[in-house]
Amino acid sequence: MLKTRIIPTLLFKDVGLVKGIAFDSWRRVGSAMQAVKVYNLRGVDELVFLDITATRDGRPPDFAAIDELADECFMPMTVGGGVRTFADARRLVKVGADKIALNTALIESPNLVREIAESYGTQFVVASIDVRRHSDGGYEVYTRSGTHATGVDPVALAEQVEKLGAGEILLTSIERDGTMQGYDIELNRRVSATVSIPVIASGGAGNYEHMAEVLHETSVTAVAAASIFHFTEQTPLEAKRYLKKQGFAVRKET
C-alpha cells in the first residue's frame, strides 16, 4: 500500500538554510547542500525546498543554486518560492525540480496553476497554502511568506486550486510554525476532508506523537516538518519507526 511520507522542509533565505518561528525570527541552520547529502544517506522519502523571501523581494527562484542541489538530490524534490510565470516553472523543471510549489501565485495569478498543470501534469503542481488562525477561530490564507492577508478561506482556496489542476496541497499553519506544539488538527481536517488530492500537513511538529496525531485525526497523507529535524535529536528514520509501531504503513528501510 501507499506509504505515509515524512517530508523534511528546507527553507532558504538568501543562500543559507534557515528556520523560524511563526514565519519570523529566522535562524541559520547551515548549508542546504549538507542537508541534501545527509538526507540522501538516510533514505528520506522526499524533500521540500522553499525560498521564503523570493516573492517578497521580487526575485525569481535562484535557478543556479537549485540546479546544484538537484544534482545531488536522489529523492523527490519540490521547489517553491518566487515562481510567478510559466517560464519560471519551465526553468525549474530544467534544473531538476520534480514538483513546484506555488503560494502567492495561487491568489495573484491562479491561471498559472492551470497552465503549468496542462503542460506538466497535475502531479507537478503543489499548492502551498499558508494559513493563520484568528482569535475567533476563523482561518485566513496569507501570501508573501505569511505577510499579506488575503481574506480568503483556506477550504475555498483548496477547492479552487484542485479544480484548476493542483495535484497536492502543502498546508502550513503560520502560528504553529516553529513552535513544535503540534499540527493544527482542525485546519488539516477541514482541508483534507474537502479535496480529493493528497494533503501534506505542515507547521508545528515537535515530536513523533504530533505526526501520529494529525495522521489519525485527519485525512492528510503526509507530514512535513522542519524544526524537529533541525533543532532536536529526532530524525525522519526514527519518526518512521515510531509511526510503524502505531500501525501506519511506512517505507521499508533498504
Partner: protein
C-alpha cells in the same frame, strides 16, 4: 561496462536527475532530442511527465518516434520507459481524447480510479512493486520493494505475458512491463534511491 545512454528529450520533464542517476550507476548519459544520438546509443531511456498527447506530438515532430522504433524494434537496443515514458510505449492514450502511442505494448493508458477510502489521485509517494514474473530489471531487489510514484494514469496491457510487476493502489495497477529488451516502469528509479539505482544498474547491464 561502456554504456552510452540516450536520454530522450522531448521538452517535457526533469531530465537532469535521470542523467545524474545514470552517471552514478556507471553509465554516460546524453540528454538529446537529436535522432542521430538515439541511433548511436547503446541504451535508450524515455523519461517524462505531463500529458500523453503533447508528448507524442513532440516526439513525432522531432522524428524521435521513428528513430526510437528503428533502434528498439529492429536493432534490439535496450529501452527503458519511465513514468509517462512507460505510458507512451502503449498503443493508445486516453488523456484528453484518444491518442496513438508508440504501440510497443498492446493496451491502453487509463486514469487511476480510487476504489478504497483514502485513495487519492494523483498517486504520490512510495509504494510496493509485486513481481508477476521474472525480469532482469529486478535482479538483487526483493519482491515488494517500495519505489517512488507520482502519476494519475496507468498502462493496462492486454497481454498478461508483458506484465512483470503490479502495485497495490486503485484496485492494483500494472507498474512494470517488459517485452523482450523493452522495459517500462511507472515509478521513478532516478528518485527511488538505493533500489531505484539498482534498477538502473540492471538496465545498463542488459
Amino acid at each position: 561496462m561502456n554504456c552510452l545512454i540516450a536520454i530522450v528529450d522531448y521538452g517535457m520533464c526533469n531530465l537532469d536527475s535521470v542523467k545524474r542517476a545514470v552517471e552514478e550507476c556507471g553509465g554516460s548519459g546524453i540528454i538529446t532530442s537529436d535522432p542521430h544520438d538515439v541511433e548511436t546509443a547503446t541504451h535508450i531511456i524515455l523519461p517524462g511527465v505531463g500529458a500523453f498527447g503533447d508528448a507524442m506530438k513532440n516526439l513525432r515532430d522531432a522524428k524521435l518516434d521513428v528513430a526510437m522504433s528503428e533502434q528498439v524494434l529492429e536493432k534490439q537496443i535496450p529501452f527503458l520507459g519511465i513514468c509517462l515514458g512507460m505510458q507512451l510505449m502503449a498503443a493508445t492514450g486516453t488523456e484528453h481524447g484518444q491518442h496513438t502511442g508508440l504501440g510497443w505494448i498492446d493496451g491502453e493508458v487509463r486514469r487511476l480510479r480510487p476504489v478504497k477510502d483514502g485513495e487519492r489521485i494523483p498517486h504520490i509517494g512510495w509504494n510496493e512493486v509485486h513481481y508477476q514474473q521474472e525480469s532482469p530489471l529486478f535482479r538483487g531487489i526483493p519482491d515488494g520493494t517500495d519505489f517512488y510514484f507520482v502519476h494519475s494514469y496507468h498502462v493496462c496491457p492486454t497481454q498478461q505475458g508483458e506484465i512483470t510487476g503490479c502495485t497495490p493502489y486503485a484496485d492494483g495497477f500494472v507498474s512494470t512491463v517488459r517485452r523482450d529488451w523493452v522495459f517500462g516502469v511507472q515509478f521513478h528509479p532516478e528518485k527511488s534511491q538505493k533500489m531505484g539505482f539498482q534498477v538502473l544498474r540492471n538496465f545498463l547491464a542488459i
